[in-house]
Symmetry: C2
Amino acid sequence: MDSLFTKIKGGVGAPQGFLTSAISCGIKNPDATRLDLGLIYSEVPCTSAGTFTTNRVKAAPVKLSQAHLRKGELRAVIVNSGNANACTGVVGIRDAKAMCAGAAAELKLKTSEIGVCSTGVIGLPMPIARIEPRIPELVAKLSTTGGADVAAAIITSDTHTKEISISVVIDGYKVKIGGCVKGAGMISPSMATMLCFITTDATLTSECLRKGTLECVENSFNRITIDGDMSTNDTVIILANGKSGMPTIRRNSGACKIFRAAMQYVMLELAKAVVRDGERVTKFVTVDVKGARTYLDAKKVAEAVSKSALVKASWNGGDPNWGRIIHAVGYSRARIREELVDIFINDQAACLGGLQAPTPMDLLRTIVAKPEFTIAINLNQGEANYTMYTSDLSPEYIDFNRSEYAYWKQARKDGLI
Amino acid sequence: MDSLFTKIKGGVGAPQGFLTSAISCGIKNPDATRLDLGLIYSEVPCTSAGTFTTNRVKAAPVKLSQAHLRKGELRAVIVNSGNANACTGVVGIRDAKAMCAGAAAELKLKTSEIGVCSTGVIGLPMPIARIEPRIPELVAKLSTTGGADVAAAIITSDTHTKEISISVVIDGYKVKIGGCVKGAGMISPSMATMLCFITTDATLTSECLRKGTLECVENSFNRITIDGDMSTNDTVIILANGKSGMPTIRRNSGACKIFRAAMQYVMLELAKAVVRDGERVTKFVTVDVKGARTYLDAKKVAEAVSKSALVKASWNGGDPNWGRIIHAVGYSRARIREELVDIFINDQAACLGGLQAPTPMDLLRTIVAKPEFTIAINLNQGEANYTMYTSDLSPEYIDFNRSEYAYWKQARKDGLI
């Protein structure tokens, strides 16, 4: 960890002036034993930013949160897991509005100050009747120690919660940043999303926060892939409430650079945690492309290798199959020359100049047998580079994703369809 | 089958004036029990055409066949399975040239009249010492009845041979077209290729044949996908020797249209056979996109749905999961409007206007339980359409592709590396 930052406890509840809570409403499972409705609230007004899925099919809460962010600043976020409220038409919009209105009424805020997120199965109506009457209870439970509960309320097929909080000194002021994430993202878009919430008591102009968020998301969440799919619900929302008392951070200042590095660190740690907790994942692989003619060429190569089903299957089998890697490099549409391509597994050469390197295959096999390794690809054509974080693809992943029929059966039993 | 065409026997050996043969050289398996070297030869000069992988990493035989086709017309093709001769550098080029030179010497042709193809594992040197001395035997075995042997000599992980031959009457002349294909293509590029050979005794100008081939490949082999990967070796080669005695078919004539329809039929049947025989495939799915604003939009939607790991996993599980289908439609980058999208499974509506249709889920499940069905997607925005042929994705596919280490071990035992 960069010595600039100190890890602290508390997740999204760590920064000053943030209150959080979560309850069980029976959305995720009918017996309501798991937390599935969460709330993040700032005691004072915030500056805020968000990035959302570029899927043309957008869930109702995504459309509503985008509209609220266009109107002004958010100060609270309500989030549920178990149902994505996606492909639910006007009824879905009505349900997402009801969640915001309920929270706004209890918190004495404008509806447009509330962000709303949902994650879960696509195409089933929201069980809104289980949510609305519980919002007063959710608000009553708000506390400075609820960060871990929010992290638990957003997960679906994740095997564990994923949260982080750090403190960083900026211009002499101690600033805290907290975050939690719900995996899946491209991993399991039907379950249905990557959701990330970041809170901070730093003081930033809206412009500085929004531009910084775009850049940090580009260098973290946009660089991970599990199965190449893209969700209808992906959302990152960040709230900055200024409770650290520091002077306002403006664009291009030294303070802005430090804050951005800190936010980048938080987002990248959370993004990597999503890959590590991917469905039935057994390997965490860094794909490091160097020597491309352009940034776009480097990105194309990294994406093609990171998404190839055959490359990922070979990693699952512990097979250091550089032939499959170079074939993905070849079809990436980047400008490459086969005879210049070098491929390293950690620091061992697997392929030099497009041909098999002399490294013993058994040495490469011991590296690929490990749970984490790096595939470094040097195209030897220029100066551009790009890094992605990906996983293997296991037979168990396919098996896990073969059917969601159980959800439909439950929904019919519940009278939702 | 279109009544214009009559199915006949003989595969690539069916058209008049073509001789074919195959032998076992121990490239595919050391005990040489399986055919792995094949030859197709025309008794008279041909017009010829070929299409090749667009992967920037191209196998040596692909580079050489392309060069020979640029120089003039091919009259014979030599092909091996078991080794792709890809990522093998100058040694690979030398080996591919040796295969052509050996065949040319025995057949009394110029080296540039020989096409050469290889399929199998990538990155291992060709066992050329097992091939060269056997070429005289391969040529001596040429006969009019060897079509099925060639079809057998080109397969690798295929579970059976795939060949077809038809006759069609054009301008009063009976014309024959034969073809065989080796699956994999995107299915198993490391094993390593889709290879297709077509023979015909029709008489065509080189221009008519080459343009027709491009169009027919675009409407057949370019419309199939199994795992979204693209091989280093994909090749389609067609030889037309004019032995039917018909007058020369020229571009844009009525005869040209009939011939093209016949070639299209042959290629599409072979392409579909590749999908049906895909590795560990249990479903053959036609993805039919209609109502797109442009051809490119329709293609983007068809490709996104056909390649989505999550959509394909749901088909494997017999789950009529329209939510996953519409989410792939959404991220396809085509211009779509969620509220206009209809999705049908065979003739039953699964999604209407972006929302769940009233069709009982159990009825949709009985359709998806079948080995073949059609997903029809109407974007309701225009007149353009596009069809793709795809498969499910099974846990067994990943399991099957986990490791090729056995090939490397065998190659070391054989002294090749």
